[in-house]
């Protein structure tokens, strides 16, 4: 079946612009996660959605970052007034209702110039 998909695969934007990143989780997966991966580093948790519960936003680095999810489907991560330090790969993952396995998408590489 289809895996997690993300779009765009690459995004170059100017400092100060807003960007929107999209994630389509695996069908039937109730949990959705966003992570950030800076060059040569591990993954940094950003936000978690589980069904219709309130999201866990504890990993968002600043109020310029926000995310939404429609039910148990698509999620969008929005970064407002982008800064150069936002340059990274943004990864989305989803998990089935039972089990802890997280399945990752290919990521969106964001470059802020």
């Amino acid at each position: 079946g289809a895996g997690v998909s993300q779009s765009p695969s690459n995004k170059v934007t100017e400092k100060g612009k807003d960007v929107e990143l999209r994630c389509d989780p695996i069908s039937g997966h109730t949990a959705l996660y966003w992570y950030r991966q800076r060059l040569g580093q591990g993954l940094e948790f950003l936000i978690y959605f589980q069904g219709n519960s309130a999201p866990d936003k504890s990993g968002l680095p600043s109020d310029r970052f926000s995310a939404e999810r429609t039910g148990e489907s698509v999620s969008t991560l929005t970064i407002q007034r982008t800064q150069q330090e936002d340059s990274a790969v943004y990864l989305c993952a989803s998990s089935p209702p039972t089990g802890n396995e997280q399945y990752f998408g290919p990521g969106t590489r964001l470059t802020v110039t």
Partner: protein, 112 residues
């Protein structure tokens, strides 16, 4: 504070050799420990995972060794192949919490 510490940062192994990557953690509430493999330009892919009620799990050439008392776990890749060249991440998860805590990654290069 890094919840999961991973070493080495990079590793070069001859084809056919054994690759060993180590991770350590502090939070004894962690109860699920996966390893991910990531190729350049791709997202991490789940490779193998273990729960703390067993000391070892083997899937093909990949083995996780788990030492609960030492709070350490390691990935062993037997008969390493050039196609195994990738970055490997260990991670830890606590049931009821909301995210995986990742190590900083090990870049493995297997030379022919």
């Amino acid at each position: 504070q890094q919840q999961v510490k991973q070493s080495p940062q990079s590793l070069i192994v001859q084809k056919g050799g054994i690759s060993i990557i180590n991770c350590a953690y502090e939070n004894t509430a962690f109860d699920y420990f996966p390893w991910y493999q990531q190729f350049p330009g791709k997202g991490p892919a789940l490779l193998i995972a273990i729960r703390p009620d067993v000391s070892e799990k083997k899937e093909g050439r990949f083995t996780i060794s788990f030492n609960k008392s030492a709070k350490q776990f390691s990935l062993h890749i037997m008969d390493s192949q050039p196609g195994d060249s990738a970055t490997y991440f260990c991670a830890a998860f606590q049931t009821g919490a909301n995210n995986l805590f990742f190590g900083t990654g090990t870049r493995l290069t297997v030379i022919p």
